[in-house]
Symmetry: C2
Subunit: 331 residues, 2 copies
């Protein structure tokens, strides 16, 4: 397989910028197209955060960073690349029009990877000339630190496209998760959605504030889930008698009407304002840039702890470092 040593990123927001950072840090050259007047400024802010994170993470044998080229048109950005990452707003028509421009100028063998968290690849690809090369590669913010990327093919996506993508994302230190059935919200966002709805009810009914909900997460199950997931945690809770024992104990609780998820809470202006006010009270004394840097510092600390334990994302990171070392010997 030809190595991907140049990538076009279309759209330079938080996600596009995060992709650019991860690619550059892997020694890959990047072209970017974003029509916003402040695109360059925003991208550079993300890159500055990502540089600090990379220094703190201290990846052994990391390659010489790639170059970033700002392009005035999509055509110019995609003309000689083998991967195009689309990270434009979540509107089907916007994305389709971007794909038209991509296909008119990019090499036919170039993969097109959409960062969408909300649209299905079958919908995205149905007007493409070469639909087999489109997939969803859905990352998580901050893209330069979080390893998860959900790979989802549409009805016309080839298995070769999925395999190429798996190989590529693994090579840049990520943990590709192939979502085998094309469903709304893929996998991770279904959970986020379930938690978000429940949180809206709690705020709406005045049971808890945004701060209290965040505390309920970060001092308890958040710490668990950074290193073991739902099922593995419950397996351990089941003790020596195992998973079956846990389910037998816990299962009956499921018939209780605990969650309020049967309805979709209406996101009224009043509720939006309550959340906004509570969030301001909770974190308004930090700027977003400060919060980003706090977040990154925490994530780097957690990733390093897990790296020395060779577990979860830390194991991925350790394996990535090892692969970089091998690559450098090969070169």
């Amino acid at each position: 397989m030809t190595a991907i040593n140049k990538i076009a990123v279309i759209g330079g927001g938080v996600i596009g910028g995060g992709w650019i950072a991860r690619f550059l840090q892997n020694g890959i050259n990047v072209t970017v197209f974003d029509p916003a007047t402040d695109a360059k400024e925003k991208i550079e802010a993300v890159l500055a955060n990502a540089d600090i994170a990379a220094q703190n993470l201290a990846i052994a044998n990391s390659p010489k960073p790639g170059n970033l080229e700002y392009c005035g048109t999509i055509e110019q950005a995609v003309v000689d690349v083998l991967l195009i990452v689309e990270a434009v707003p979540e509107r089907l028509e916007t994305k389709k029009s971007v794909y038209d421009e991509i296909e008119s100028a990019a090499p036919t063998q170039a993969l097109i990877a959409s960062s969408t968290s909300g649209l299905l690849p079958t919908e995205l690809q149905n007007n493409l000339i070469n639909p087999d090369r489109l997939l969803v590669a859905h990352p998580f913010n901050p893209v330069y630190l979080l390893p998860l990327v959900e790979l989802v093919g549409g009805k016309q996506t080839s298995s070769e496209t999925i395999e190429k993508a798996k190989h590529f994302y693994t090579g840049i230190g990520m943990r590709p998760l192939h979502v085998r059935k094309e469903i709304d919200a893929f996998i991770a966002d279904r959970f986020l959605e379930a938690v978000w709805r429940e949180a809206l009810w709690l705020v709406k009914d005045g049971i808890a504030t945004t701060q209290e909900i965040d505390d309920a997460i970060i001092y308890g199950f958040g710490l668990r889930w950074a290193q073991m997931g739902l099922f593995e945690t419950y397996r351990v809770a089941g003790g020596d008698k195992g998973m079956r024992h846990f389910i037998d104990q816990f299962g009956p609780c499921l018939s209780l009407p605990w969650t309020k998820l049967m309805d979709v809470p209406e996101l009224t202006d009043e509720l939006s304002q309550t959340i906004t006010d509570q969030s301001d009270a909770q974190s308004g004394h930090y700027s977003i840039r400060e919060l980003e840097q706090i977040r990154d510092k925490n994530l780097v600390g957690i990733l390093k702890a897990l790296r020395s334990n060779q577990w979860g994302a830390g194991k991925t990171l350790a394996g990535y470092e090892e692969s970089l070392s091998t690559d450098n010997v090969e070169n």
Copy 2:
């Protein structure tokens, strides 16, 4: 307020054992009653894990550990304590009969704290002679490492009881979260329940395995939630335009029927077996004891990283260390 220097724990399972470990590590003497023939063996296994965790966590100025006394009756365990922690199975009648025995022998001013995750304090206290002293103090496994404890009062719980409990749990390094309205599942477990239901659907419909679901958690939002919760994470994602901007963008997605939470998935024998088999394939090559030690090592690493960043659970830990240092100077 009189310091609580001796505590009775009724029930020595995973939660009771975890409580015992946290109390002993705080220099508090503990009496325990558990009628199971293997209770001592189980408790000692938890204490052994907790000791390793404490050594690795290296708390500065930690006090000389308390003594543990195994008692043959509830009466003997509670006779001269100021706090009784109830951690018996989640059956209302079992708990009520335990409370009868407690009240017949314990000092009237002793608090009674139930570890229940499923029963409401108003139900628990309605036959008590002194119902004002009962509250729910719901911890998270492993109790000796996770700081969250949800405090919930019933209709008859006094505000003095809640205040005493807040003060006490803070003093042993925990993060008490007062749940101001008495609702099923309190706060944190509502989220766990929402995620659990969604996960059952994904496994049942063959969309993802237990391993894939756990990976979707630990490589992505689990890392986020160890250090920033739902709302703070989204605030950051909203960028400089803030929380309101995020809600305006994300809110409309809520009307999509993404989750399957409108129904309760039936936990058939077949689904239980699928989960059990997938969990065995995922983690069956580790014993539960090994998984517990891996989990604890990861949690200690994460807590240390957050401690050096003075954030979230790490800030709680740093504050706790400081209070221990002050206590020791006072003594």
